[in-house]
Symmetry: C2
Subunit: 333 residues, 2 copies
DNA sequence: AGCCCGTTCTACATCGTTGTAGAACGAGCG
DNA sequence: CGCTCGTTCTACAACGATGTAGAACGGGCT
């Protein structure tokens, strides 16, 4: 049986509450008592029981981070940023995966899945593509990246549209005229990140005076490197002409580079490629990947900080923060 | 205030214990009662309080996964495998990072850091390089990857040595004679993965009748793509001749490919590169990365399953499982 | 009828912690 | 001396769930 606060109290010859006070840095305590208790804690190797404390305080000291897949570099790196920032607030992070399934995303928001936590950070991509309203929220919640129709929860989002437009502009300025949108989805009304990036792509084309061509709108399922590779291979096989690719994330762009290299095409000689996210691997691709950086660190940090404020009782209206972006110039475009 | 089991009982007009029985699928209950309670649970949107249940049962329903960095693809993908397998057992996973710091690794093992959980899976790399004995274990623990001197905890490890030797053999069979060990550490007595891979490298060299050369032993700090790139750039700058690289993980190997491409060297024409891990990105590098696959999925799955057995009371002697490896042939070597 | 037994339900104690209320103490004041 | 006040400590209740013990019931047996 684990050693409890009562064991420590007995060992130190003091009351249970005094031990509790010691553990919680209660200021009105003699140094002698503090020392006695410290010695007993040490001697018995006492550790507080988080369940009991959680029950008493109504807090668990943990938050959930819900993402589609951890294996995607962008989400893994986001998760690392979130874990580090949460630790800064003394919180632990339980990580859950949805596979971009809207049902699962909903279940996490409603608290039907996942561990009990004090708050939730979710990067919803499945739900963002459907247009239902989410009303059931079990915990203080911060949504990251994509926006969904949900009441009273904070958003930390990125400049999907402006960044995508800038990426297209970047390619157009370098003389590219047939630019693929890699990751383009079928139409939805919901303002998902994917949809906004597509809007930005269209806007960028228009700004540059380029014609839109439906065959250049290439969907890619889950935005993994393998999907990007397959999609571009298929495009080449189909004989579609193109001289630029905007990958809607870096994994897709890296997949495109892989497909182009395989087909014997030069990047950026024959085709320029630009990505989105600036994942850690981007500088090391061949060629190094030019990309739109939506400030992942800022996103993660802001999301955690906002969530902590909510957990601590902040009850103002729902907030919306948009992180800045900038184009990181490398050699692929 | 959240709705409790007592609220449900009152609403349904039954005792608290009956609600508890319902929630725990107690078999001796009339269907009428079951239905009444189900309706009340639904009506009040009742969710069990994990802290209270945890306090009563002495279980939290969560395990910790402790890794050096989540941003490294290998650990991210391992984490995904662990989360998926844990979910299969109804467990949640809290992820912690150590930055490979032995002090932090120790603190997690001793339960001085991290949330309260039912068990711990750790990929220790800092501790594996020191040779102290670890005796304090707070939870049932499974160590993954590297072995450390710890009493009574299960290991799930991989064929570090044999795989590294096979990788060297693979390059040697293709006529490579000056083979770099990328990720070689300074000597330690502790049988860390890094050390075992180096031993395997040496053995492979010997088997192939090749001479060892100290300038081909290249350390790389944290095994990230950037470290691999830097190390190989420095090697080229120093004028060291080599025609093969064994990356001690895939990120390092990918960094090597990046450095070689940057220097205008052809892979595998001028230099063959082989990695270790078979991360998801390996097939999509230019050229696709040949690598030693230590069966990451098996590792993760076995670790979780063994931990679950321990949590459920299995008390046999410490076990040691070694996952098989095989070389995945692609184009980089 | 009287008994046992399985089913169905309830009351109560308990897990380990922290908040509340208040006791005991000495110092400072009139 | 008697009072208040701040400090230091203690006893007890409470958080929300589950295990134990046992009550009440009806059916089947002798």
């Amino acid at each position: 049986m684990a050693v409890t606060i009562a064991d420590v109290a007995r060992h130190a010859g003091v009351s249970i509450k005094s031990v509790s006070n010691y553990l919680n840095d209660y200021p009105f305590m003699s140094d002698a008592m503090r020392a006695r208790i410290a010695a007993s804690v040490e001697a018995l190797d006492y550790k507080v029981n988080a369940s009991a404390r959680g029950l008493r305080l109504g807090r668990t000291g943990a938050i959930s981070l819900v993402v589609p897949e951890l294996a995607q570099p962008y989400f893994a790196q986001l998760a690392e940023d979130v874990v580090v920032r949460a630790e800064h607030h003394g919180l632990h992070v339980s990580i859950e995966m949805t596979g971009a399934d809207p049902q699962r995303e909903l279940a996490y928001l409603a608290g039907d899945r996942g561990p009990q936590v004090d708050g939730l950070i979710m990067h919803a991509v499945g739900l963002a593509r459907t247009s239902g309203e989410v009303t059931e929220l079990r915990y203080p919640t911060v949504l990251i990246g994509d926006e969904i129709a949900a009441e009273g929860c904070d958003f930390v989002t990125m400049a999907h549209e402006a960044a995508a437009a800038a990426a297209v502009g970047y390619l157009a300025a370098r003389g590219r005229t047939r630019i693929v949108a890699l990751g383009a989805e079928r139409e939805t009304d919901a303002p998902s990140g994917a949809r906004l990036r597509l809007d930005g792509y269209r806007g960028g084309l228009e700004d540059a005076g380029l014609a839109a061509a439906p065959e250049l709108l290439v969907p890619a399922g889950l935005w993994r490197i393998g999907s990007g590779r397959q999609a571009i291979e298929a495009l080449i096989d189909a004989g579609v002409e193109f001289d630029g690719v905007v990958g809607f994330n870096d994994s897709l762009a890296l997949g495109a580079i892989s497909a182009l290299a395989h087909a014997g095409l030069d990047v950026p000689g024959d085709v320029s490629v630009i990505g989105f996210d600036d994942i850690d691997e981007a500088p090391f691709a061949s060629p190094p990947l030019t990309t739109a950086d939506p400030s992942r660190h800022v996103l993660a940090q802001t999301a955690v900080d906002m969530l902590v404020e909510r957990i601590e009782g902040e009850s103002g209206p729902a907030r919306r923060v948009e992180a800045p972006f900038h184009i990181v110039e490398r050699a692929s475009a």
